[in-house]
Structure formats: C-alpha cells, structure tokens
Symmetry: C2
Amino acid sequence: MAEKKVKNITSRDQDFGAWYTDVVKEADLIDYSSVKGSMIIRPYGYAIWENMVNVLDNMFKETGHVNVQMPLFIPESLFNIEKDHVEGFAPEVAVVTEGGNEKLEEKMIIRPTSEVLFCDHYKKIINSYRDLPLLYNQWCTIVRWEKETRPFLRSREILWQEGHTMHATEEEAREETLRMFKIYETFQKEYLAIPVITGKKTEKEKFAGAEETYTIEAMMYNGIALQNGTSHYFGQKFSKAFGIEFLDKENKLVNPYQTSWGVSTRMIGGLIMTHSDDFGLVLPPKIAPTKVAVIPIGNDERLDLFIETIKEDLKDLNITYTIMDLDKSPGYKFAEAEVKGYPIRVEVGNRDLQAGVVTLVRRDTLEKITVNMNEVIPHIQELLDLIQDDMYNRALQRRDAMIYQVDTIEELRSSYDDPGFFLVNWCGSEKCENSIREEFGLKSRCIKDDVTDKKCIVCNSDSKHSIYFGKQY
Amino acid sequence: MAEKKVKNITSRDQDFGAWYTDVVKEADLIDYSSVKGSMIIRPYGYAIWENMVNVLDNMFKETGHVNVQMPLFIPESLFNIEKDHVEGFAPEVAVVTEGGNEKLEEKMIIRPTSEVLFCDHYKKIINSYRDLPLLYNQWCTIVRWEKETRPFLRSREILWQEGHTMHATEEEAREETLRMFKIYETFQKEYLAIPVITGKKTEKEKFAGAEETYTIEAMMYNGIALQNGTSHYFGQKFSKAFGIEFLDKENKLVNPYQTSWGVSTRMIGGLIMTHSDDFGLVLPPKIAPTKVAVIPIGNDERLDLFIETIKEDLKDLNITYTIMDLDKSPGYKFAEAEVKGYPIRVEVGNRDLQAGVVTLVRRDTLEKITVNMNEVIPHIQELLDLIQDDMYNRALQRRDAMIYQVDTIEELRSSYDDPGFFLVNWCGSEKCENSIREEFGLKSRCIKDDVTDKKCIVCNSDSKHSIYFGKQY
C-alpha cells in the first residue's frame, strides 16, 4: 500500500504542467526569485547538477578534452561577424550598455553561446597543423532573454557546458561531432535512465550557423519532446568568417573544421518529466545525490546500534545516505523521502529488529521488501542496480508505445493530438515540413533513416527520409 | 647549472610587472581577448583553478556547507535595499538595460557579489530556528567594472566562490566567520605554500555593509600585499534591511545573523607572485596540475620500456605526469618544463640507463639529483613533499624579513618605500590611518594585536592596536 500523500502535488494525469512545477518546488529543487525569468537552484537541485557535471566532465576528459573559461561578454562587433549565427540569436540577447557609471562606447552582449568568443581566441592560437586538434570545453552560465520561462526547461539564465573544437580535416571534425553526441546518448541512457532518439535535425531546425546539427530527443511522460542535448558540425563556416588559418603538412594555408556541443540543466527537467510521479521526485540511483534514506522508527539501544552499523557499511561502500532521525512522525518522513526521490528507503523499528527483519521500500515502484537484518547491505546494492535498470526499461517501453508510424496525411490528421512522436515519410522539403507544423502544431524532431521507396505524406512525391515529428518543450 | 632561458620572460628583479605578465602569458595560463578587461583562462590556467576548486569545495562540504546557484542579475530596486552595500559597489557595476530587443522596465545589475540575492531568498525560506543554520556556498562569475585590469589580480569578470550563511545566534555566526577564515588560511599555507598574515580589517577597509571583515594578506615577492580572501560578519544588518525573521525556541521573532566569505582566481596571481622566477612558473606540488614531466632523451627499446614502467608507477600512485616526447630538442623541452612549473622533471637517456641512473630536476631550486633507476619513484614521492615544504619555508622567511616594526613616524618616513609591510602602533582613528595612506601611499592591511601601552605613531595619543601597513595590488 502506498503511503499517504502529504505533499502538495497536483496529479500528474490531471494537469501535467502544474504537477511538474509542484514537484520541482516540493522537492526543494528550485525557488523563484525577484529576478524575472531566473530561478534559484537550491542545494538539492544543485547536488543533482553537480553529479551530472562530475560524470560528464570525466567522460569529456577521458576523450581528451580540456576545460577553459571564456569571457561572459561579447562585444557587438564580434557578435555580428557570422551572419546566420547573429540572425538566430539577436532576438533573445541581453545587452550591457552601462559600466562603471558610464555609457559604454560599444554594447556588450551577454553570451547566449560562445562560438564567436572561441573563434576569436582560435584565430590567435592556431598557426600550424601541430596546434590541432583543439578540444576545448567550458562550464558556464549563458543568457537567453526568453519571454516565457519554466524551471530547468526554459530560463533566461542557463547553466551548461559548451564544447568547442577545431580540427585539421573535415573527417576528424565529423567524427568528433558524432563522438560527443554518442557520449550524451550514453550518459542519458546509463546515468539518467532516459531513453533517447538520436539523429540529424532538418535544415530548418538546425543550430544558427551550423552545417549540421545532431540532436538527442527524449520523450516525456506526457508524450512531449524535450531536446536534451545537441552536437553541431560547422565545417569551415566560422573559421572562414573569422579568418582562422593554419599551415598544413604541405605548408598550405587551410581553414580548420569546427564542432560545438552542449547540454544543460534542462536535463534535470527531463529527468523529472521522465520518471517522477504524484508522490514527488523519482531519481535513478546513479545520479541521485542521496541513494538511501534510513528511517528509524522509535528508539532503543539495539536500534541505535543497527543504525550505526548500517551507516558505516554504506560509507565504506560509497553509497550516499541520509539518516532521517528528525523529530517528526514516520508518515512525515516517508512522504519526505518520497518527495525527494531517494531510490531506497530503509524502515526499521524496534519490533522489526526483534523479528530480525528490516523493510526496504523502492521509490520507483513503492514496493516493500522485507529482508533479513543481516543481509540489508547486499540487498541494497542489488536493488540499486535493479532500480536503475527497471527505470530505464519502463521509460523505454512507455516511449516506444507512443511512437506511431503514420503513412498518410489522413492518419496523421486523425491522430496528431495523441501524445507521442509520429514517424512519417518525407520528401525533404521545408515546404512539407512547414505544412505539418502549421496544420498540426508538430515540429520535426530528427531524421531517422533514409527512406526512398515511399511517398512524402504531404506532397506525395518520392520520400527521402523517415522523420520524427512531435510537440516540444 | 641552470638551463638556457629560451622563453621570452623579463627579469623579475628588473621589472616585476612585466615579469608577471610575461610568466602568465608564456606559461599559457591566459590570453587576452577582444573583450576589454576580460581574460581568457586557458586550459593550463584553468586546470590550476580546478584543483583549487576541488580542494576548497571538499573543505566546505566537510564543514557542512552545500552549493547553490543564484541568479546572475540583481534588479536595481533589490540592489538598493542596503545603503552601505550600494554605496560600496554602485561605482563599479555593469548594467543590462536591453533584453530580447526591448528596453527593460527595470535595469538589471550583473552581480558584483550576491548578498542581496541570498537575502531575498532567505526571506522566503527562513521561518523557524529549525531552518537554521543555512550554510550555503556558490561557485560563479561576478562582474566589477574595473578601469585598470591585470590578469588574475584585477579583472572585470572574476571566477570565485561566495559563501553566505545565516545563523540563529551572534555567537554561531561569529564562529562561522572565523571558521571559514581559518579554512582559507589552511588552504593557502598547506596547498599554495603561501604564508599569510591574518586579521581584522579597519572600519575604513572593511567590506561594504559588513560589521567586521577578516582578511588573508599575502606578501608578494616584491613586498606588495595581495588581499587573498576575506570573511565577513554582518550581524543583523542585512537581515533587518531585508526583513528576514525567524521564530526562536521561545516563539519570539528574531533577525538571524549573517556571514559571507570568498576567494577567487586572484589566488592564481598570488601563487605566481610568491613562487615563480625568471624561468617561468613554479608551482607547489599539491596544486600543480602536472607534478612530474618525464623527458626521454634519444630513444631505444630499453628507454621505451623504462618510460612505460614509470608511467604505470606514476598512474598507480595518482601522481599526475606528462611524457614530453614531442619532436623537439632536449633544451626546448627543459625550457618548456620550466616555464610550466612542473615540480619535478625526470631526464633520462640511453646512456643514463646503461649507467643505471636517472636525473631528477627540482623546479623550485633547479637542483639536479642523480638517482638509481630502480629508486626513481620513492625519490619522486619524497621530493614532492620536500618541494612543497621548502617552497613554503622560503616564502615565509622572505616574508618575515620584509616585515618592519616601525616605532616613530620618522622611522616610517625614512623606510616607507622599502618593499614589505610596516607594523605600527595606532590609536584606532580613521584620521591617523588616512594620514599614513596619504603621506606614504600605504594602506592598512589588518590589525595584528591589541597594543595599549604604546603611542600612535601619527598622533602620539595612546595606541589601541598594532597594525600592518603596506602597498597593495
């Protein structure tokens, strides 16, 4: 039997949007601030981000990347160098016009992304093929002046990482684009337990200034898409615009080939909307800041001793834990452990110990498991792995059940409002892509395959690709 | 014999300022950018910062602190709440006046420090004594619109951490102020090998809005002071201004007591100006991103085998290393290892191995030590500890030799231009403090002791304190 719900959380099936913001607030992940469009990431939310950063940073370093720190500001003249890029970002930048009590001679744009800053630096440090590749990454805050904001999903300030690399050959840069894309996929599957659909964006949806954009598309519980990471191949577009050149092995001047790739705190939003429920957060063990919550019920010497032993054992195994011994009712503590999404709750009272047993509660299923008190630790270890796997598999099954192959425009017309993704055959024209967007409010997610033996569902000419469409955050 | 200097570094004794910027550039720590007053922290410089962050973050967490993320912006009305604070920071803020192609209704100040943002949040989350203490820290970028900038020392953008805590009692807040101050001192002594003078700032020099400021003052090689960290006690000043209240155990409404404390990338500047020399950077082993540089001279199978073995051994011991096998002359590699400040250089050639020996070179002294090839690893381990200790002790001796007890104004008049700190007796008045500043260009560093049985060197009335004066960065 599930515990009584004492937190103030709207039902997920009743109002998904309200449910999401309730979970975010009740789990103490964020607070709103007096700064419109900016949120405060509270300790528990930030601890999730720190875990993500640590894992990803290791993955980046193991693949040869190093961290740097670029300026926060972009002088307007620098920002304006690459035309497509400017066009894409100009409508949503924040601009500093005063500094040190004076009006600035040149306006400063707060970085919405840092391609131009990296290029400006690369121009100075790249001279020879020996200087390449440059595999740089930056963890920082960017600013995009959004009109409508939502915690973690759309915010004026975003904590993220942006990788920026330069290569001597097109082949190498393309490999890098895919390598990092693959790292994002692995991270989201293995750590966040989020199944993702991966593929290339259409011309219309690609990043401003990129030649190609690869995207990680996750489907939320309600069937809506979350773009949860992108990797871009720029070719020589920026390196030509910025005049970056190197002498190759044959002593010829060449423009290097570029990539960039990024993920952000948006992944926390994806984590919530994939796994959480009406009792609050559900976190996969591998990314949960606290893996085990131990709740003593009552107190006596024997119980104290048991708690001390389990603490030592968990510490030795590097399993993070919290002992919930605050002066509150067991019901309060159960609800608190649930809203925080601690993967396993250990309930233990005097009577349990007399009987030689302890109760483990899985947060993902709320299933209760009675185990011998001497076997708590191996059970916890096993259960953590099991929860991680089960969470992924459940999300995968749900996702797959909400992907619909749609062969005609009529089929789409009768089903487009169903939650999920629609896989359609498409001729590759922006006109047909726009037409689906306008009629059904669906945006292309990414290209699945080349499919040339079918017809485009819009114009009925030969198809080029099989492509996912869906509503998006 | 020291290696030939191949890098372009001005002599430290000839022109300290030029030497400093040469070291910073030649060691690839930073690059200048097209953004006036902002620097690019390059991978090697950022790796030093990452090491500092990791150690400090652990020290903060071990003392119960948690990380959060506050907004980058402060609405002007929020910024203006605490008067002393505004007065201190208003002249050097950067202001966002446009966002999303529109003029903003309210100007947004980019945080120069975040006391007001934390207070705005605390007002919402502090209700009862059970909510206290709140021990928060934030790693972030702040902006202060400085007119003159210098890499790491004075910059428009600063990477730092700012701790902000709230407590139920004055006693507890005062303890916290000193605890964190002590952590900074320990970190700088034990990791950076920088001896520091610690004490309270005068009323004139304290942080804008604080009741008391404690400072960590380091003396650079040239005798000039670097304020290298501060910890502030605010009392109830901000909590009253912001209307933050909690119900104490007796059910009475009370304003909590506050602290804040911070250190920044400025510590990298302090590291350089304390230890480095005409050959480049000298880094203490505990903070050096790369502790050992192995330089193979020539190549044959036996040498390759030796290199493989030493790599494995260093990896097993978690001693970071680089194998400098690039296609350059040994002289070039020696100079490169020196400018980068790798604490130990291992030089090994075919003939050395035939003789069964290897040469270790200490970066701090450039001393060469020939050791048995089978004892390289224990020698390296021992040497790393020794270098760390020796660097601290040398810096301490130099610092102590440049502190002068000055008993009369005449003595100060004849010596004020000597490099170093002057310890004087002082009546405690701002008038006398200002007089020393104006006549000699010396600013008070911090109060050493209470000294009441002497006379103020300026006004000759009874002294209150013994206090350090010095020139500063």
